[in-house]
């Protein structure tokens, strides 16, 4: 295992080292110590490596991630895994606002709670939150799946496109054009897989969730509204 002391060696050295790794690298397991809430830790990775951050991180940890698995043994600041393309990001603690925003692929797991705007504008990412999510989560979410074992805050899925939202607890309020939908067998199957990959299959069963999605009245052109354009 390669170890990197962020306080001693600095952020630029860390990220340029990780960016220099090729797809066939033998240095596949990394540990980052003394993160001390620093910003932009392990952003822009593009190699099949496993990075463990021993502590809490600041803004944008693991942003734009491709291929890599990033584990945060603490809590994450705003914008964790923002615009992730592929790979996996697992946070043991809580995540601050807009976790997984605009993510296009991969899996984000938050074992604590996620704050407001989790999964805002998500475009294909899968997000599994073991705790609760804050207000305006999944705003304008386009595709991908959001799984919440706890509760969701105000205005869940406002102006939603085609992302699928599964919430086990209460939803404080639904946003515009977001409605509860029928849970069909294919959704239970999808959910079982997401719970397993999200390290949550021992915590919840697919049958305990409700599904929410778009009523498709807001983003489809409706001739009855023609005078409004």
């Amino acid at each position: 295992m390669q170890s990197f002391d962020l306080t001693a060696q600095g952020l630029r050295a860390l990220n340029s080292t990780l960016h220099g790794l090729k797809e066939q690298t033998n240095e596949t397991v990394w540990e980052i110590v003394n993160p001390k809430g620093a910003h932009a830790i392990a952003v822009g990775l593009d190699a099949p490596i496993d990075v463990t951050v021993r502590g809490s991180t600041g803004y944008y940890c693991a942003g734009m991630n491709k291929q890599a698995t990033v584990r945060i043994k603490g809590s994450a600041g705003p914008g964790v895994a923002e615009n992730m393309m592929s790979g996996t990001v697992i946070i043991d603690g809580d995540a601050s606002q807009y976790a997984g925003a605009t993510g296009r692929g991969g899996l984000l797991v938050v074992k604590g709670n996620a704050a407001s705007r989790c999964g805002i504008s998500m475009k294909g990412i899968d997000i599994v939150v073991h705790g609760n999510i804050g207000h305006m989560s999944c705003f304008m979410a386009q595709s991908g799946n959001m799984v919440v074992l706890g509760d969701a805050g105000d205005a869940l899925g406002d102006s939603l496109y085609e992302a699928r939202l599964f919430v086990r607890g209460s939803v404080k309020s639904l946003g515009a054009d977001c409605i509860e939908k029928e849970m069909r067998p294919e959704h239970l199957e999808l959910l079982a897989d997401l719970l397993k990959r999200g390290e949550a299959d021992h915590l919840a069963k697919p049958e305990e969730f409700k599904r929410y999605g778009s009523a498709r009245k807001l983003y489809n052109f409706n001739v009855d509204n023609a005078s409004a354009y």
């Binding site: 809430g37 600041g58 600041g77 601050s96 407001s116 804050g134």
Partner: protein, 297 residues
């Protein structure tokens, strides 16, 4: 942007270190606000005395005669400690209002704070330089609030820096911007409040002071603010014995809190708190939107 730090001590053993802990937190938040910085430190008041913190644009000319000028006007002995552009005048509590009125009548002098326990120091410049000028790291106290400013709503001046103090032993710092401050300022002026700047945060501070004058407690005053203040804000507020936090309902301005048996700490970012004693085992959380938090001793 702007950065906020705050520390409310529960364990008296940490009181001698308050200034040092807050200074380190403040400097970590330099990236969020490099144009000016300020700090409010509260210490246990000596019975019957009060403190007036005065800032001067001409300290060399103003401060040597400051004690004599105040003593002549109020007819009582005062002591003055000069720190760079600021002077802390300790005087009998009963004469505080008279001394404050006198200082406010002088063109080159500004009142930074007045009260039993509060001292406010603020200036333009990098947080590390501002903290060094006033030797904040050597100060002891019970609680304190610091701010690093990236100006948006008014000019980069000493008086535009935070904390703003608009009532005895009160102060407020702000990350964000208010959108209804002009209307609210006119309303507060009608109700007898006075203002020294065009700054939006001063309006929020005066709003809270006004509510406290109307005998609301700190929690109630911040609760009222959720209805009356429009815009983006994370506020941290200090009173003689209290410390409060509130975020607007949208809560896009960051805030992290940490609590142990020894203290309650606030930081715009977690990294401001990483060197506090016992942070590894502290309860760390983000304050909820539109929710008032306050602690009183």
């Amino acid at each position: 942007m702007c950065g906020i730090v705050g520390l409310f001590l529960k364990d008296p053993a940490l009181e001698p270190q308050l200034g040092a802990l807050l200074t380190e937190m403040l400097i970590t938040m330099t990236d969020r606000g490099p144009d000016s910085a300020g700090i409010a430190i509260y210490s246990a008041p000596e019975a019957g005395t009060a403190k007036l913190t005065v800032q001067s644009t001409a300290p060399g000319a103003d401060f040597p005669g400051l004690a004599g000028m105040i003593e002549a006007a109020i007819g009582a002995k005062v002591s003055v400690v000069v720190k760079d552009t600021h002077a802390v005048v300790t005087l009998p509590e009963a004469q505080l209002d008279a001394a404050r009125a006198l200082v406010r009548s002088k063109a080159t002098l500004k009142v930074m704070s007045a009260g039993e326990g509060i001292e406010i120091y603020k200036e333009v410049g990098l947080p590390k330089d501002v903290a060094a000028r006033f030797d904040v790291a050597k100060m002891a106290g019970t609680h304190g609030i610091g701010h690093t400013r990236m100006a948006t709503e008014s000019a980069v001046t000493t008086m535009g820096a935070h904390p703003f103090s608009t009532g005895p032993d009160q102060c407020l710092v702000h990350n964000g911007s208010l959108s209804n401050h002009n209307g609210l300022r006119r309303e507060l002026i009608r109700q007898g409040m006075s203002f020294e700047t065009q700054n939006d945060t001063e309006v929020a501070a005066a709003y809270v002071s006004h509510k406290l004058q109307e005998s609301q407690n700190l929690g109630e005053a911040l609760e009222s603010g959720l209805n009356d203040l429009d815009g983006f804000y994370t506020f941290v507020v200090g009173t003689r014995n209290g410390f409060g936090v509130v975020r607007d309902p949208v809560a896009c301005k960051p805030a992290v809190m940490a609590e142990t048996d020894q203290y309650v700490a606030f930081g715009s970012e977690y990294r401001a708190m990483v060197n506090l004693p016992g942070i590894e085992t502290a309860r760390v959380w983000e304050p909820e939107p539109a929710t008032v938090y306050f602690w009183e001793r």
